[in-house]
């Protein structure tokens, strides 16, 4: 008999969590520094619902007044807006880099350098330029996304098979038609993986910004994590870390993975 694929991973995960729980409860480590999984779960319960509303049976209000979901929402909104701005600027800039040699030799090289710069480095500048405001966070997220997208778009446009261009040109395609109907569709797989990378960078830079900066305009996941640190509540710190991972996985699962699969399948690249 063949076991369903999820059985073994689930079993291993439960075993690891069980071992961890036992290790902490047996007193081998300080449970203030390394909380047991059950404590983290407790924190989840406590952070997810506003306890007073929950006990009076107003479950919807309990979630809305809880700490976790509003914080997740604040963070997601910043991430999506910052990512969208970064991609919206990065795609045309990447195309321009690919199209114009001197732009590639100047701006393209700069983008390559800035891409290697951890986006936390933008935090001091962002604070000076925008103040302790929403714009500062968005700026850091945009800087995290932008350069990865620029580089990915530039590379994938430069790597479009010359044969497609030649074929299209002989059929009379040029200018905007060539870009929209040939170059961009041909570069799409590369652009998509660039977006995915941009998303990962945006996520990291946002966490950095939220942890480093107490932003008065919204209490995000990073702020929640930092608050946990200040209160010495490691269950909260680890709980938020788990949520951050979960959101990352979820974004890949519901957005990038299906898009990539569709792209690969429709072009016969599926292995």
């Amino acid at each position: 008999m063949k076991l369903p694929r999820f059985v073994i991973p689930t079993f291993i995960a439960l075993a690891v969590l069980g071992g961890w729980e036992w290790f902490v409860r047996a007193g081998h480590v300080n449970d203030v520094l390394v909380p047991a999984p059950s404590h983290i779960l407790q924190w989840f319960w406590w952070a997810l619902f506003d306890q007073a509303s929950f006990e009076s049976g107003q479950y919807l209000a309990a979630i809305q007044k809880g700490e976790l979901l509003p914080a997740t929402w604040v963070t997601m909104r910043r991430l999506i807006i910052g990512f969208a701005i970064g991609a919206a600027i990065g795609i045309p800039l990447g195309a321009l880099c690919a199209r114009v040699r001197w732009v590639r030799d100047t701006f393209g090289v700069l983008a390559l350098g800035l891409q290697t710069l951890p986006s936390v480095c933008w935090v001091p500048l962002a604070l000076l330029w925008f103040g302790i405001r929403e714009e500062a966070v968005l700026f850091v997220v945009v800087m995290g996304t932008l350069w990865a997208v620029v580089i990915a778009v530039q590379e994938s446009v430069l790597n479009v098979q010359p044969l497609y261009l030649r074929a299209a040109q002989t059929m009379g395609s040029k200018g905007w038609h060539l870009w929209s109907r040939v170059i961009f569709p041909a570069a799409l797989p590369g652009v998509l993986s660039g977006m995915k990378q941009g998303w990962a960078f945006a996520w990291r830079s946002l966490m950095a910004a939220e942890i480093f900066v107490v932003i008065v305009t919204g209490f995000g996941l990073g702020s929640l994590l930092n608050a946990g640190r200040e209160l010495l509540r490691m269950d909260q710190v680890m709980g938020v870390m788990a949520v951050v991972m979960l959101v990352g996985l979820l974004a890949d699962l519901v957005f990038f993975a299906p898009l990539e699969r569709w792209l690969r399948r429709s072009r016969g690249l599926e292995r």
């Binding site: 002989t170 569709p185 429709s266 016969g268």
Partner: protein, 261 residues
Amino acid sequence: MSPPIPKSNAQAALTLRNVTKRFDGSAGRVTALEDITLDVREGEFLVVVGPSGCGKSTLLSLLAGLEHTDEGAIKLGDEPVHSPGRDRLVMFQQDALFPWLNALENVLFGLRLKPGLTDAERLESARYYLNLVGLGNKEKARPHELSGGMRQRVALARSLAPNPRVLLMDEPFSALDALTREQLYGDIQAIFTKRKKTIVLVTHNIREAVCLGDRVVLFSPNPGRVQQVFDVNLPRPRRMNDPALANLAAEVTTFLSSHRG
């Protein structure tokens, strides 16, 4: 020896006069084509044959307007050729079909760029040419779902559909297996006879050249020059295993080996 200069022809579709093309490579300047003078008549199936490196693909790129001559002039009718154009469509060695479009959309690609047609006419035309190459039932198939031969047929339909004045073919059969190739030779000849299209085909396969061409122009390499022109007066449709065809191919091969510098 000096290449035979073809007599100028009043109904020439394409005229080449003293065309020279050089490339700057890592080994310095290379003359790919030297002093090519050639006419392609209206409604003629001209095949350029020669060993690799004889500049025959360069010639096709020049005719397509994808490259520019260094010296000499190329004209389509009375118009000088200097850029790609719908009047000269190209079939490439690889099919060059767009993987993000299905067969019908690929054929429609060139048609959509042709002005003066309604969408209904474009669709009708695309379907007609897909049927002509025997793929009327594969409209919705993506390129990767088709065999190599089918892909080249879609590419053929795509180049024929906008009704170009000249069809340029750059070794379109060389990546196919022998059986598929032979089938396509039949298809091409049937379409050529039916549509009276001017075709320039470039190949390194002498049998193929003799099988398809009304005239076969033999190129010699380093630099690429016209070495000899053969008229092929065999009736169509021609078959690869026809003895007369084999004889002619042998004649060309003998000429080639006896004139190798």
